[in-house]
């Protein structure tokens, strides 16, 4: 890829020369500005977040009333307000330097990974569908169905250790795959638009779990609120450390990311997905079955989101509630977009969002800064990353290479 050909076709841009090593590729991406732009986007988003934090803090508003006579008071109050909020965010998500043992100091990092696991799994589901030109807004519903089936296996069936966990995980994946598969089949057989069907199925799933949690089979005996029994120990995803919630699910998610990468980049089926995503009519002309592709993509995408449901019910929470999906399905859309619909990009984006989720809670508890600021920062990061020319203009970064288009996302609503 050379600088003189900014309009080179996607295939050429997406595939760097084969002899390029990982290190070379990393350097190329670093120098081409895309990683720099990412970092600057995060800085810019944090800066705007800081303005919001400072402006809405009563302790800053007070000295701001006499700003023109003593501006230093306002600025130092603003600095205190912002730095305490952000250091709480950092200690909550990366390293707690006030702890004395290594294990406890790194506990926030484990919490970040715990939060990231379901985000990545569901994000992979959304990203995979994107690559085939489908807009999967239904991860939320797919997560719920996955959690229902995995949870039911977890507390309703009592199987031997080992087998129990495997059956539970598989049941969750199947649950998500069914919910996604409905969308694929309807799209392929009747042309029903996937955006409508996924939105509607989200609502159906939400009411379905609310109903189940009132039935005898799902409600915890003796509990008055709608929660399920705790899943059996044999069905829980093993936790790595005593004092953190980080569980085996994180490894499963990385395996899933590898699987999606292999599928998209190395397999015939993945090639068909991308071909249909790039141009369904051309793919049909080339002899591919577009409807079969839609069904498979949605089955797999749903299965990945179902895996996120498994993380929630067998790993993090360990019982079902009506809010088991915790908005992960919607964050997953942003994660997939931020990761430019590529598997490893999704992993990185999921980790970033996981860190913000993990740090937001102690930030709100410790400094009173509302956790909603996290949403603002998240969306600003994506917005800036998505518009490299804007960030380049603000920071005056020279253009060394044309920005790569997000694969499979150039088209609109799909056919």
């Amino acid at each position: 890829m050379t600088d003189t050909q900014p309009a080179a076709p996607e295939e050429q841009q997406a595939k760097p020369p084969a002899e390029e090593s990982f290190g070379q590729r990393f350097m190329r991406e670093l120098t081409s500005g895309s990683i720099l732009v990412t970092i600057l986007s995060v800085v810019l988003a944090l800066f705007i977040g800081a303005i919001l934090i400072a402006a809405s803090d009563p302790e800053v508003q007070e000295p701001a009333k006499y700003f023109f006579s003593r501006p230093g008071d306002t600025l130092s109050a603003a600095w205190d307000s912002v730095s305490s909020a952000y250091s709480a965010l950092f200690t909550g998500s990366i390293i707690d330097i006030n702890e004395y043992t290594v294990g406890r100091a790194l506990r926030p990092l484990a919490e970040t990974a715990t939060n990231a696991a379901p985000l990545i799994a569901a994000g992979l589901g959304v990203a995979l569908a994107f690559r085939a030109g489908l807009f999967n807004i239904g991860a939320e519903g797919q997560i719920i169905l996955g959690a229902i089936l995995a949870g039911y296996v977890g507390f309703g069936m009592h199987l031997p250790t080992g087998l129990h966990l495997i059956v539970g995980v598989l049941a969750g994946i199947v649950g998500g795959a069914i919910w996604g598969g409905i969308v694929g089949v309807l799209k392929a057989r009747t042309g029903a638009h996937e955006v409508i069907v996924t939105i509607m199925l989200n609502y159906v799933a939400r009411f379905f779990i609310a109903y189940l949690l009132t039935t005898a089979a799902f409600q915890r005996p003796g509990a008055s609120n709608p929660v399920s029994p705790i899943v059996d120990e044999s069905a829980q995803l093993t936790r790595f450390f005593d004092d953190s919630r980080l569980h085996l699910g994180f490894v499963l998610v990385l395996l899933a990311a590898f699987g999606v990468w292999w599928l998209l980049e190395r397999s015939t089926m993945g090639f068909e997905f991308r071909a249909v995503g790039a141009n369904p009519n051309a793919a049909r002309t080339a002899g591919m079955s577009v409807s079969r592709t839609y069904i498979w993509v949605m089955l797999l995408a749903g299965g990945l989101a179902g895996l996120a449901g498994v993380m929630q019910v067998l790993g993090t929470e360990r019982y079902l509630t009506a809010g088991i999906s915790a908005g992960i399905g919607f964050d997953a859309i942003t994660v997939a977009l931020l990761g430019r619909a590529s598997p490893w990009g999704t992993v990185a984006a999921g980790l970033l969002f996981g860190a913000l989720r993990a740090g937001g809670v102690p930030m709100q508890a410790g400094t009173g800064t509302p956790i909603d600021i996290i949403l603002v920062i998240q969306s600003l990061i994506v917005l800036f990353i998505a518009a490299p020319p804007l960030v380049r203009a603000i920071f005056r970064v020279p253009v060394r290479s044309a920005g790569q288009p997000v694969a499979g996302l150039q088209r609109g609503w799909g056919a």
């Binding site: 919001l52 939105i199 917005l383 998505a386």
Partner: protein, 430 residues
């Protein structure tokens, strides 16, 4: 009843054109399944000896009409038999090679919904007028949102940010109306809020050529984040100074509001609802009957051709996105000023996405979007009314019903819809 049978696959010699002309079996099949459901659950299994009572007029009406009391099971049985007959007739039509006409679908829907109503209300009483009134109230933001989508997407820009535009309109209208003490200034603020969100969408999507779906999704999150943040910091702690706008007065239109049943529903409304009627008609006429509309549609279908003819593609798109944002912002004001009288956290509650569905369901046309939005509003209100009086099935399934019916409708009756050809594709002059 003659159950619709699936025709044998067409012989291999049929040309694709001929195949496309053949009416589809989907509609009779969906009709048949629904008619059977109606016949069995509403008719045969319905409780006998109950009456369903429907209040027709409200106390203040000029003409008082007595409540309609129907004997539940026989009436539901009769209505579901009507459904069966329509299903059989549509099957016969398709067999004879004719398409199922639109009026038949409407008739089927009405008969099915009435059969369901009579069954669900057995032994109870509901007011027909308040059913329709509530349905309209729930539809208003949907209609505005869907119109915003139509305006943007007809010009070739996907607008996922409807949710954000509605929420921004709701937020700013409440705050500005409280600060200024004027509800009408609040309405203008709602329009400005929608415009602002749309402006960001337009700058990123058109100027910086960022993927339109990304920008839309992100803008929704951004608006939710900012409004939640400000709500937590300002509106919730000091509601009196920031968040007590009150509601718009209802304006009765003389004569029209005295029509029985529909008069009070349609013509005793706030100015936002009247603005909705006007906007729907204006957009419909402007898009399909004016030069402006022709240009917009040209830009959405074939920007290159439009450019060749001297239309400034990106300018048209920019303007339409802003226009759509203004419309959606006004719709957002209905949540606060038109209905509740205060802003609350994430009060648009996914309605922007339902509006998106209504736009697609209505095939990117203003009148279609209006119909779809009214249908969603009706189903939603029906479900909440029936939740209050209690029905034979768990309330969660009642809550699911509108969404499941939508899936049925999209899969069976609408099927393949076609977006404007250049929808979502940025235009770069080469």
């Amino acid at each position: 009843m003659s159950a619709p049978t699936i025709q044998a696959p067409p012989p291999a010699a049929v040309s694709p054109e001929e195949l496309a002309l053949r009416p589809s079996w989907k509609t009779p099949i969906v009709f048949g399944v629904l008619a059977l459901v109606a016949l069995i659950t509403f008719g045969i299994l319905g409780e006998s000896g109950q009456t369903s009572t429907f209040g027709i007029s409200t106390g203040s009406d000029a003409w008082q009409i007595d409540p309609l009391a129907l004997s539940s099971q026989p009436v539901a049985l009769g209505l579901s038999l009507v459904c069966v007959v329509i299903a059989a007739y549509s099957a016969w039509l398709v067999r004879a090679g004719q398409a199922v006409p639109m009026w038949l679908t409407v008739l089927f829907t009405v008969a099915f919904v009435l059969a369901f109503l009579v069954w669900a209300v057995a032994g109870e009483q509901i007011s027909f007028t308040s059913l329709l009134q509530g349905a309209l109230a729930l539809s208003v933001p949907l209609v505005f949102g869907a119109l915003s989508g139509v305006l943007c997407e007809r010009a070739g820009v996907i607008n996922i940010a409807i949710e954000g535009q509605l929420l921004a309109g709701a937020f700013l209208s409440a705050v500005v109306a409280t600060l200024t003490g004027s509800l009408y200034v609040g309405l203008i603020a709602a329009i400005v809020a929608g415009l602002l969100v749309a402006f960001v969408l337009a700058v990123f999507a058109i100027k910086y050529i960022v993927n339109q779906i990304i920008v839309g999704v992100v803008l929704n999150v951004l608006v939710i984040g900012v409004t939640n943040f400000l709500y937590g910091q300002l509106l919730a702690p000091e509601a009196a100074t920031w968040n007590s706008p009150g509601t718009l007065p209802r304006i009765e239109i003389p004569l029209l509001s005295e029509i029985p049943v529909i008069g009070p529903v349609l013509f005793e409304q706030t100015i936002v609802v009247y603005a909705m009627y006007v906007t729907v008609i204006l957009v419909q006429i402007a898009l399909f009957r004016t030069r402006w509309g022709l240009r917009v549609r040209a830009v959405g279908e074939h920007p290159k051709a439009a450019d060749t003819l001297g239309i400034q593609v990106n300018k048209v798109r920019f303007r339409n996105v802003l226009l759509g944002g203004a419309v959606a912002g006004l719709g957002g004001a209905f949540f606060t000023l038109g209905n509740v009288g205060a802003f609350s956290r994430e009060m648009s509650a996914g309605q922007g996405f339902i509006a998106l569905a209504a736009m697609i369901f209505g095939r990117w046309s203003p009148l279609g979007a209006l119909g779809a939005a009214l249908l969603f509003g009706f189903a939603n209100n029906l479900q909440s009314l029936l939740g209050i009086i209690g029905t034979p099935i768990p309330s969660e399934f009642m809550l699911m019903l509108p969404y499941i019916l939508t899936i049925f409708a999209v899969a069976g009756l609408v099927g393949r819809v076609r977006a404007p050809a250049a929808d979502g594709e940025p235009y770069v002059k080469s």
